[in-house]
Amino acid sequence: MDLSVKIRDKIMQNPVGTASGTFGFGEEYGELIDLSQLGSIYTKAVTVLPREGNPLPRLTETPYGMINSIGLANTGVKGFLENKVPFLNTIKNCAVIVNVAGSTEDEYTKVIDMIDSVDSVWGYEINISCPNVKCGGLAFGTDPVQVERLTKEIRKRTNKPVIMKLTPNVTDITTVATACEIGGADAVSCINTVMGMKIDINKKKPAIYQKTGGLSGPAIKPVGVAAVYRVSKKISIPVIGLGGIMNWEDAVEYFLAGASAIQIGTANFIDPNTPIDVLDGIKRYMTNNKLEKISDFHSFIE
């Protein structure tokens, strides 16, 4: 059985990764699970300057999901290099993919310029889709022209894999995916969180400070599966599926929809062992269904 996933010219040992913002930089969960068994870790977003993040409350629970508005809180690229890279250097076998965010083209490319020489950085996931930053993120992710230009700028600066992370909060996700492919991206991941809102009817106020935020968890799985299906039919670079994956059955659904790899997000909060359990389940399913490699999943659904 071959579980490996090729992106650009690099190989991930298996298709199971942990989603940006739900796994920090791996240190915390490294105390609970063996990180070297994971295919990949997608870090919390890194921005040029430190960001304190949004005022509180930042979280609320909803039926089968949660809404967050963390606001890309992070220590900035200098803090990343000083405080996070030493730990990332110790992670074996698993691909460390840095999630990069910004509100102008310049902010994205500066981050890449500053970390591209770090060996333990395997590749980049470009967050053009965070719903929690007012001025930039989302505007980028919704406009195919800007997305193509940004992808090209990033492509010029690095030979490492570039994965563009798409937002479902658009009219047609496939046009943005196409823009990424034309711009020279090596893969796309979909989906980021779905814009959501919860209102406390007793206080007559929104449940989180930012009023609207990003919905994640099982509630968004069908949205993610549909996005992966439509995008993978449209473009020829690999699609990394995420959104509401709680167990191996959910992961298999994403592979059948066209995903070449998957990420576990909110499920880490509920059971930190989920990525390992999902990997085991995928192996059992492949054995029982006589599937040799991940691309074998893609022949079932037209």
Partner: protein, 251 residues
């Protein structure tokens, strides 16, 4: 910290709406007073729920929880036949005080302060434990052993002092207030009142904060509180839950 499936030893109603859940905790991770754990609800709701350790001895640990919503109502039906997923111990505990400790517990803050009181008594620190509640029905029968001085304050005067915990301390323990350290856990307004009391008497005050949590291990930055530090927001789950009250921006 560790995540494991733990056997329930007992789960009893100990006061109005308050349960004590005792479970098997065989692990090399020994919880300290002020640290907490998360319990995974069975089925829905989705997110794990944080609770402070209320005791730990001989491979047995416990929490005291109040039934407020879906998850806690679900936990109240656990029996000795069940096992539950526990992640812990989490966060930092209380620091050992430099002066005589005055422990203040309000509402759901009871569990961690009981644990702290017993631990401090064993260390010979002669803690005073002040428990505040709306009325006597919310106060369980306590078996604290020697070395803890217990003071009770109820809003309606149905047990102990009539009034809140800070009024109680100012009226009946004014002499001690000048030379003690406060450690407290309870509703936000009580914590704020304790902080103000500490400023007034120029004494130290450790507060155990509460915020909505998702990961509870420090990874998501969802549970932050505003502090006076340069990096404005600190995580309750990882940097806390216990803070020096002077670090917190009180609102």
């Amino acid at each position: 910290m560790i995540q494991k499936q733990c056997k329930v030893i007992s789960n009893k109603l100990i006061a109005k709406d308050y349960y004590e859940l005792v479970f098997n905790w065989e692990s090399s991770f020994n919880p300290k007073p002020g640290q907490f754990l998360t319990l995974r609800p069975q089925g829905l709701p989705l997110l794990r729920r944080p609770f402070a350790f209320s005791s730990f001895k001989d491979n047995r640990a416990a929490i005291i929880y109040k039934t407020v919503g879906k998850a806690t109502k679900g936990f109240s039906s656990l029996t000795e036949k069940d096992s539950i997923s526990i992640l812990g111990p989490l966060g930092s505990g209380f620091d050992l005080p430099k002066k005589r400790p005055v422990l203040i517990a309000g509402g759901i803050g009871l569990g961690p302060m009981l644990f702290t009181a017993i631990d401090f008594a064993e260390r010979g620190l002669s803690p005073i434990l002040v428990i505040g509640a709306r009325d006597k029905s919310f106060i369980p029968k306590l078996e604290l052993g020697k070395g803890v001085e217990v003071v009770i304050a109820t809003d309606d005067g149905s047990l102990g002092f009539k009034g809140n915990v800070t009024q109680c301390l100012k009226t009946e323990y004014n002499n001690i207030l000048n030379n003690c350290e406060i450690l407290c856990c309870g509703p936000h307004i009580m914590l704020k009142a304790c902080h103000e009391l500490a400023l007034e008497y120029d004494i130290e005050c450790q507060v155990s904060m509460e915020e909505m949590m998702a990961c509870a291990v420090g990874a998501c930055y969802g549970c932050v509180v505003e502090t006076t530090h340069q990096e404005k927001y600190k995580r309750v789950c990882k940097d806390g839950p216990v803070f020096n009250s002077r670090e917190i921006v009180w609102i």
